[in-house]
Symmetry: C2
Subunit: 134 residues, 2 copies
DNA sequence: TTAGTAGTCTACTAATTTGGTAGGATAAAA
DNA sequence: TTTTATCCTACCAAATTAGTAGACTACTAA
């Protein structure tokens, strides 16, 4: 399951995407429009900015805006930033690989099936972008 | 990510599957062979029995064994029993459907993409069985 | 130059979930 | 009737999740 945080992130980005190239949008506006706790959303947007998905401007007339075209930002990327790995096992993760401590890749027969799952999942999540949820 | 519990369940079933039709196997044997904490494994196997994946026999010569051919037990089924929903959103889950409390299905545009993800994931997990991880 | 506005940042907290453990009860066999 | 092995309930510690608080910094406009 997606965390609430990731769901909020996607909703906020969907809103920001719909205002792409219309200048900065304030956190408060997004929070109200999308029903997201304001302070929680602050943290989320900050994280997205640090990962260069968004950019921001301070002071009057400031706010957040897309640092790149929303159609080029995949859903997979956002989930990885907010929730971490998409795979169901650490040992088949592409971006968060970690050897399972209780079994090795050779003898453990779970990785074959879960690599297949990962590929199927990523085929959708890498292809779909913020534009698809606007 | 799969929980440890689900990973243990799959490993235990993989072992039991390899002994299908060879009579009951004791928890202790599975635990040792697959490096799973004994008491934790007890709970897991009990849950699988209650869901009619396994059957058991008490007393001497007792143990656990498959209640049906392992090739007919999908990985999806086991994950649902142990971890619950496979979908990334409650509102697109087939077996654990729950309306999102912060958005409705009509206006929320996340469900389209995440239904697609669910379908892709299930295509693998429903097709693959315990036999595939033996 | 000084309000006021809006994001930045660190730290904290409560609730929930995860990953187990403990120990007695029950049932089957010898 | 003792031994063997599962059954079952309850408990616990650690980690994660979901959010809050509050002070700080940067920018804008009067």
């Amino acid at each position: 399951m997606l965390s609430n945080k990731a769901k909020y992130a996607l909703k906020a980005l969907s809103y920001l995407g719909s205002k792409y190239k219309e200048g900065p949008v304030q956190i408060a506006e997004i929070a109200e429009e999308k029903n997201i706790p304001l302070k929680f959303l602050e943290n989320i947007l900050l994280e997205l900015r640090k990962n260069e998905v968004l950019d921001s401007k301070k002071g009057k007339g400031g706010g957040y805006y897309f640092a790149q075209d929303p159609k080029n930002v995949s859903i997979a990327k956002i989930i990885r930033i907010i929730d971490g790995p998409i795979s169901m096992l650490p040992c088949v993760s592409l971006y968060f690989y970690k050897q399972c401590d209780d079994c090795d890749e050779v003898s453990c027969n779970l990785n074959r099936v879960f690599s297949e799952v990962r590929d199927a999942t990523l085929k959708v999540l890498e292809k779909r972008s913020i534009k698809d949820i606007m």
